[in-house]
Symmetry: C2
């Protein structure tokens, strides 16, 4: 299969770099094709601005969505953006690997999302009516592809547990897993978290690689996070609120998973 690894750490001689190299070698050994977007190495431009929309008339106020729609439709996007979109279309699965910085992704990776996720590509896709609110949250350009976060943290697993002070990991990652991955259509796998990155000796690194190998081997068979599809009947449209009989009375993020009625 075709696997794209988006990597966002400034140092290759690091735990992140070692895990990246392990994943690439392991996936290739299993017969996969692998492409890598090493954002620091590529000196990826992070800030979305008018330079991203060639032909923009500076007399007019710059509206990022309007301009993105125009250049995407016209095939006039910057080359670096087009290349990343082509990699996404090529991939059967995408791994986003990054260190958790301030409970989100490093700026350089956020800038990859802001710029590559064009209007007409990742949003503004599909019928938009009172019955179908765009192809998003389970439908869209990237439907049928799998995505997984590989995320490293200095903190402990308990700090990100269900009642941990930093917030449960899947809740902290909700804006990414649901808002960035599920939105344009990805099937989202549970993340592969690495905790206590300050304390990784050779023995622990071997353990991490074994655990990572198991996840990589099951990339196409593991059960995904069962996010509810927006247009499949669970939400009222256009309010886009969960219907009252589903997870009644609840308003935690878990209600957006189809197994929430069982928990």
């Amino acid at each position: 299969m075709n696997i794209l690894l988006i990597y966002a750490h400034p140092e290759s001689r690091s735990l992140n770099g070692s895990l990246r190299d392990f994943a690439i070698a392991h996936l290739k050994a299993k017969g996969h094709e692998v492409k890598v977007s090493d954002l620091y190495k590529m000196q990826w431009k992070a800030a979305l601005d008018p330079d991203d929309t060639p032909g923009y008339d500076h007399q007019m106020p710059f509206n990022p969505a309007v301009e993105s729609q125009r250049v995407f439709a016209a095939g006039a996007q910057p080359k670096d953006v087009e290349i990343e979109q082509a990699k996404l279309l090529w991939a059967d699965a995408v791994i986003f690997q990054f260190p958790m910085w301030w409970f989100s992704m490093p700026a350089i990776l956020k800038g990859w999302v802001d710029r590559v996720y064009a209007y007409g590509f990742a949003y503004g896709v599909g019928e938009h009516s009172e019955k179908h609110w765009g192809d998003r949250y389970g439908e869209g350009t990237l439907a049928g592809k799998r995505a997984m976060l590989t995320v490293t943290m200095g903190g402990w697993e308990s700090h990100y547990s269900d009642r941990g002070v930093s917030g449960a990991l899947n809740d902290v990652l909700f804006p990414i897993q649901h808002g960035i991955l599920f939105y344009p259509g990805f099937t989202v796998l549970p993340p592969f978290p690495v905790y206590k990155t300050g304390k990784v000796d050779a023995a622990r690194f071997d353990q991490l690689c074994s655990a990572y190998a198991a996840r990589l081997d099951n990339l196409f068979t593991d059960q995904p996070l069962p996010f509810r599809r927006q247009n499949a009947g669970d939400y009222d449209i256009p309010a886009l609120t969960l219907k009252p009989h589903i997870a009644p009375g609840r308003h935690d993020l878990g209600i957006h998973l189809t197994d929430s009625d069982a928990t």
Copy 2:
């Protein structure tokens, strides 16, 4: 009082620009001192990299936290970072204004956080023991200061309501409000959200300004989000999990608010 406005939108001739200008004028008219960090105008460097830590020995692997600690302690940080830290220390309140892009902040603002939040300034502060896990989540360098998000969204209010498909707004913003603001000590006010930004005519803009003025006038008196302090007894240390008798059995993000027992 001293108020810092961090602004991250690429266009001044926009709803965001107009709201920024309104806030500055309104706060000044009420007698406040106002400073602005207009990140696009400043061409803020977004990606944290070795250039941020002068004196770094490139023979060694680049460890962002270790290098940050070194240059912060040595007074050897880049000038742009020092200036922003000084603004934060000067401020009594900080407003972060940005459009919600992919359920988080634009990359340029994330890069402001990644670079300005140095080790010894925003993290790695205070006693770190089995009784006190650093000055964070309610303590820290920025304790005593207030912070508020002013965030614009194309989506509808219902989409971000308690059962809305995008996730409840305060849950989507948890990594920012709790992880970026509360962590280094800010007292966090409820956000000022602006929905349906595609449909703002003059009448609605006036309404928005009235509502915004009310929030700005109450910046120092409004009740903050009552996040639980990490070291004040609600969490077991060092596991940093909420004690079993608090919000028993629950594991939604709301448990990290002191009013969660009541909801």
